[in-house]
Amino acid sequence: MAHILVVDDSKIMREMLMACLRGLDSMSFAQASSGLEAIEQISLHRFDLVLLDLNMPDIGGIEVVEFIRGQDRLRALPIIVVTTRGDESSRERALGAGATRFLTKPFTPDIIIAEVQALLKPSSQVA
Amino acid sequence: MSTLHVMFLVGDSGYLIPAESVLYMESFTGATLVPGAAPFVVGLVQIRRRVVPVVDLRIRFGLPPAAPSLGQRVIVVQVSERVVGLLVDSAREVVHVPADKIEPPPEIISGQSAGFVRAVAPVNGRLAMLIDLDKVIGPDPVAPDIEPGFVKETVHAQ
């Protein structure tokens, strides 16, 4: 059973992502509509993967990644960051801050499915 | 086009309308008066959770109104988007009227009836009249001062 945190300020975007992933084996989801909510959720619950949009109100996705990696127990939490075209400069910063994978919109359903499946293979799950 | 028609009586005369325009036929137990509506509108009636305006065909056809009777019926018809009820003296029969038996009425009759009668056909040995539902339910164009829900007093005492 994999518990995934989907973070994006657009409700419809979150729905689209969850729709893609629901069909995979044993997924459950929590949602956050801002980086701050995401940090709060992560501090209070346990997740197996985080899908994180980089552009959000009040605190950017990069900062969220930095915050997560700053916690010992979350060092190995898989984080997929998502941004839009034209923001490729964020790629270095995101990966440098400790993001696991980096995706740009638009992407097709099979891309996000493949990324998530790869990260949730037993060897990459949080202990 | 089916040949089935509903036949009903207004006064002593028989009238026909296509069965497919008839939604329901109910007995008449009174109507809610709508102030300011045309004189041939009896009022509103509730039928199967719909509120339907009802036209008194006796008044519409120029007859004096009748005392309430058990035989009275409200025939609820659908005319394009509108749902309207027709109050008639009785309605019991559904008849087949083959197309070749339907004829236009004499001109004097269609003129006198303001276009209400659009055709005639023999039914059971008598002449029944097919009516133009659109015209019959109205409202008639150019109703001068029927704007407010009440009637203005427009006549000065002599």
Partner: protein, 691 residues
Amino acid sequence: MTGPVDFHDYVEGFLAEADEHLGSAGKHLIELDRAARGGQSHPRAVRELFRSLHTIKGLAAMVGVEPIVDVAHEMESLLRAADRAGGRLPAPAVDVLMQGIRAIEERVTQLARKQPVTPAPPKLVAALSALVASPPAGAGGAAPRFGLPAEVDAKLAASEREQIAQGIRGGRRVVLLEFVPAPDKAERGLNITAVRERLSALGELVKVVPRSVATAPGSLVFSLVLVTSAENQTLAQALESEPEAVVALTLDAPAAPDAPDDSDPVVEADDTPAHAHGYVRVDIARLDDALEKLSALVVTRFRLGRAVADLTARGADTRALDVIVGEVTRQLRDLRGAIMRARMMSLAEMLQRVPLLVRGLTRNTDKAVALSIQVGDAELDKGVAEQLFPALVHLIRNAVDHAIEPREERRQQGKPEEGQISIVCDSLSGTHLTLTVTDDGRGIDGERVARKARQPVPRTDEQLLELIAMPGLSTRDEASRISGRGMGVDIVKRTADSLGGSLSLQTSPGRGTSFTLRVPLSVTIVDTFSFVAGAQKFVAPVAMVEEIIVVDASRIAHAPAPDRGRPAPDRAAPEWAALVAPVAAMIERRGQAMPLVSLATLLRLPGRAASPDSGKALVVRLTGRHRGEPIAYGIDRVLGQQEVVIRPLEDPLVRRVGVTGATDLGDGQPTLVLDLVALGAALFSQARADS
């Protein structure tokens, strides 16, 4: 296995979110415009605009609408640069951004209508990127400091510093607060989102910084910076912490704004106004269905209530049943509330785009227009809003294009240079909405219009409205220009009519004009008084009735009524009342004379006609042009108060002014719903015509 997910299926959702973002983007642009004219920066608006566009861009990319991605991308770059420069935009930027918003709106509409989406306009794209390249005016200066802890201070962006500095300069406090999330707080709904909402209501939330604190339950503490005028006590309550924990900040370095840059806007773009989106209809159909089912429930509940009352009358112990019926009533009320809320939109929201529209209309003219919108928190049904909005847009366009005079002309007339246009929601009677658009422009000269149109000169405002609403008139350019009303009044009138409402007009040549749109809401459940008049049952909305009074027969002043007419010729049945009585008498109320009108006589009800002498009267206050005038309607007796489902009467045979619809009081017969305000207005108009 996953079924194939196609992101194109999410277009509807995209449209809904895009619409929201575009609406708030418009608002922020107005704020930015105002700030730019005053030579100020507006960091918060820039940031929020940036975010809206970024979101639209991302969504559009996923759903596959490239043209929108292109425009949004350029706008986003421009705004990112502005954000980095402390929230400053080059002055011509606001105009170009507005064009950008319009371009996106057009394409969203195309998408909603399943039309092909036009590619991004190249001139607009070029204009936007040119602005990104040019440095904004007045960037730079030393970064102000505030005495914040280093960890928080390090995270502040230039625009955020600017926001804090402006707050302090503006005489408000800037405080630092802390919120510690915990599982039990989250259970109660006190999470960071709730805290942010509460604090946003108390001031401007500038920054939230998460900090790792080992001793906290989740090892997490949020530090919040807020510009506010609220007391520490209030702030602490919002966070459930102590007032002592609130830390005030100070400003260490001033910064003066620079002189504004007055260059002209760069590019002409297509001037079409935004249209309401057709896709809202899908929502409405489902809600209509829900309402139908609810109305059936309401009727059933009445029947149940009466059945229980019958049982009680027969001596059964129905106490337990009564409690249950009460619960059902409450639950139905809640359900109704939920459905109505889903169907309603606030009038303010509907009018959100109007300031932008007016701004666009006055661009490149020598007219100045001040727009005032006073609609409070009035709400209306989405379906009605969809039809009403274009009608309103017509009225506003006409006011700006034709009624408001250029600055010079106004100066010469001794009017203030800035023209005034106001949109006021006059009253919400529960069943009707009255919207008045007023301008202080040229007014409409009936004589000139009549002459040009070769029609008889109108003698009243009603006749003038008929004249300018004549379909042929709007195509005659000269007459329409002189009429000050151009095209569209016939369309507005048709919209009002088709909604079952009315359009009225008041004008004063040289001084201004007022158009009033009155439409029944398709609200179907309304709180009403039921009563008997002329032996017939009626209901009227509670919201319409100011007071129910007892009429003292001996204190009625019967006024002379020399025009006694015969019984109206349209009542064929001889047994019906041929009573001819004057319609109105007078009574005194609180020192003033008020007309007392017998409803039974007014409506020519055939039942035992009650003279104005008997029992009770419903006092109603009029709206619109006879605003404030009271009328007392004499009735036989009051029956009760109840919520009813109103079915509008749509058939032309029974559509009458003064009758809103019909309802079922549980007795199987339709009961008419009276619009006492409209009846009163008609009475007044007739009185005016008669005297």
